[in-house]
């Protein structure tokens, strides 16, 4: 799906800083890829490159074997849905009105919304458990509720690729699990490709299929969830004393701070 070849990125300004250097990675289609790393390691920057919010300084990114810049704006919006870390919330819209904008790539500025669109919107709201406040103002929602509303908009967008920048940062544990579980199940049901920046090691180990770890703007590790949840790997990535315990009755492991 997404293929990066020797991609690097520099900040603007008089003294450009290299934020990402020489990244070569291929995000597998139909899988849940997680980007992890310590603060400032370039996770969000990489995701913005994929979402076309940043332009690479060198190297090449392709989506479906087409160079990223060659997709038209609308075409790209139909293929890739992106949720930034802190989206600007239009305070005057109701939840349903906001989610309805997920259909914009398909209906454009003037097209009528058909029954099919409303079905998609309803379904997205149901999946993210926001149907209950469909007619409330987005501004009146809590941080976690807003995050779910945004996710619903992305689902209504109906794009095969989801790019999520810390989609669960404001959610409580229950909702974190629900949302990640939802994303994981959507992935297997309709073949969604998900690329997410995530912080919680255990959630990554539990739900992600493919993991890319960054350190100082460089790729420092990539592999599967099973290989990720190893003491040595985690210590190497986060440069912190982390330990891992295998759970007795499950294939999963949990981490702890040593």
């Amino acid at each position: 799906m997404f293929d990066l070849k020797n991609v690097s990125f520099q900040s603007d300004g008089k003294n450009p800083k290299t934020l990402l250097g020489d990244i070569t990675v291929s995000f597998p289609t139909g899988e849940f890829s997680a980007i992890v790393g310590h603060n400032g390691s370039g996770k969000s920057t990489l995701l913005k490159l994929l979402a076309r919010k940043n332009k690479p300084a060198s190297g090449q990114i392709t989506l479906d074997a087409t160079v990223l810049g060659d997709h038209s704006t609308r075409d790209f919006a139909r293929k890739v849905a992106y949720l930034p870390q802190n989206p600007i919330t239009p305070t005057h819209l109701s939840v349903r009105e906001l989610i309805a904008f997920g259909r914009y790539p398909w209906r454009g500025a003037f097209g009528r919304y058909r029954a099919e669109d409303h079905e998609k919107i309803d379904q997205a709201m149901m999946l993210t458990h926001v149907t209950g406040f469909a007619d409330r103002f987005v501004a009146s929602l809590s941080g976690g509720e807003r995050q779910r509303v945004w996710l619903a908009m992305l689902l209504a967008q109906d794009a095969p690729v989801l790019l999520l920048d810390e989609p669960t940062s404001a959610l409580d544990v229950g909702h974190q699990r629900d949302i990640l579980q939802l994303i994981a199940s959507l992935k297997s049901e309709i073949g969604l490709t998900v690329i997410a920046v995530l912080h919680d090691i255990d959630m990554v180990g539990r739900f992600a299929d493919h993991i890319l770890a960054l350190r100082g703007g460089q790729t420092c590790w990539q592999g599967t969830a099973g290989d990720f949840m190893q003491t040595k790997t985690l210590r190497d990535i986060f440069q912190t004393e982390i330990g891992v315990i295998r759970l007795p009755d499950s294939p999963h492991s949990v981490s702890y701070i040593a």
């Binding site: 979402a51 076309r52 919010k53 704006t73 609308r74 790209f76 919006a77 139909r78 890739v80 849905a81 992106y82 930034p84 989206p87 600007i88 239009p90 305070t91 005057h92 819209l93 109701s94 009105e97 904008f101 997920g102 914009y104 790539p105 454009g108 500025a109 003037f110 007619d135 409330r136 103002f137 501004a139 009146s140 967008q157």
Partner: protein
Amino acid sequence: MTLPIHRIPALLCLVLALATVAVFVTDILPFAKIDAIGKVLLAPDETDFDQILFHYSTLPRLIMGFLCGAGLALAGAAIQTVLRNPLAAPTTLGVGAGVEFALTVFLLLAPAAAAPFQEAVALTGGMLALGTVYLIAARRTNATLWLILAGMIVNLLLQSGTQIFLLFNEQYLQSVFMWGAGDLAQNGWESTIFVLPRVIIGMIAIFALSRPLDLLALGDDTASSLGAKVTLLRIVILGFAVFITASIISAVGMIGFVGLAIPAALRIAGLTRSRDLMIYSLFAGGFALLCIDFIVRQMNGIGGDILPTGAATALFGAPFIILILRKARIMPGQQSDDHHQDQQIISKNTLSLALFATLLAGIILSLFVSLNQNGLAFLNGADGFGDIITQRAERTFAAIICGAALAVSGTLIQRVGRNPLASPEITGVSSATALAMIIALVFFGFGQRAELMMIGAAGGIVSLMVLLLLCRKFSHAPHYLLLNGLALTAILGALVRIALTRGGTQTSMLISWLAGTTYFTSMTEVMVVAGVTAVLLTVAIIARRPLELASFGADQATSLGLGINGFQFMIMLLAAILAASATLLVGPLSFVGLMAPHLARIAGYRLAGGHLLGAVLIGANVMMVAEWLARNLLYPQQLPTGLIAALIGTGYFLLLAIKRR
């Protein structure tokens, strides 16, 4: 008193001081050759014209230049510190305009016996203007921006008030305008001796209060917990700053931008403590104005034309302030003013219908009912019925159409710029339109209204393009739009003054148009503007979905497949065309473009389509009322509609401020 040395500000002062010395030497050099320096400074040879000229004109002018610059910069520094607002200054907060207005009214109306009270009147005018501005802005979430916004509104209002007042007393026009433009030319020591002690008293008082000033800079809560009487202190210090400003304006007229630019520049150069800032401001301001005045004098020598120094400082200062404040990033970020926390989503159909009904009823009333010496008068079928109706219809429709056009323009700019304070008037589009028309009329002699309209529209569009280019990096930061408007409005003010000192037959028509009269419009023009407005409004309503999407911000909008740059550009273009065509009919002053979308939003028109319609209805209503009042309030005198609309707007914002308390 030891001064901590700040390198850049000190260097700046030094350069300005050297330039001042150079100016002085240039002026006095001819006398050094004939060994008459001492003589010319103290007791000139009464038979030598050059010596008399130097002693009684050049020398006082130099000193006056320094005094005015120093005084205004100091007042600016004090006001900026007290209000904790880097854009505050005597001129931006309406003090200058208030003093000017009060003095103009006093000079033209008061009996000669009242002369001793002139200073008190000037001071009161300045304080009242400042008080109004402060009242409008206080207790808002982004008071910094509101203060400047309110200052701009009050400024424009008072300026056109002054101009209209002069219009009714045309015989004094020329001399008062010359004075109003900030003329430093001296013919004796009289004014200098008038200003000197006053400015010095003000300076001493402000310096004596420099420690409490530092305290105020910490914020009200900290200051009061440290034992300062915050409100009293603030009023006293502002009082002295206004006193200095009033003295200077009484003597030489309006001199803009020194009080804003000098302290702002020094602050950016690294001065933070208020006493240092004030000391450096004093010298830098004095030297700077003296040097600018020198340049102005040289230009007068060449061209033979009179360019008043005050107007020149505005011309120099306005672009400079944009450059400087771009670097500063001192303004707060984007903040929405009103939160609709858990409001009910209600249909606005009833309100819309009511507004529409009011509009229809208003039109009929406006056509058939007028006010004369005997009270209300109803038009009857008798003499000249058709003529009167046609005339009234022309002006009423002109006002309504302008209200609608400005409302659409304002709504579009506010939405696409994601900035509730933006409007064609605030962003300078209206000013630029006026500017282009005045330049074409006065300096190039275009006289046809059709020609002027085209030129004006082009001017408005160009200014918006420039603004968009400048804003690209800042993604429409709210202060940036405001700054542009501030600068353009100041340039407009300066050019209008210059144009008016040149006189000409069309001066009074120009003043009336600037103040927003609908007197000169013809039905054809109204129909053209109405057509343009109707078409563009339809376009905007059809494009309501992407317009809504634009409020998600550029990143999200692109993610959802909207080519935001092209779209923003298109919408801003629409807004500029609308603003320009409305400005052509009623002039740049009305603030309907700010007020109508604001009111519509508060009334609960949320979504783009409704917001547009609501704003149009409100804008049209406001302008209709303003037009009727303008026509009838002082019958048979005709007031300008724009001025009345701006008054309504100011009243509305004041009311809002009072309700908040």
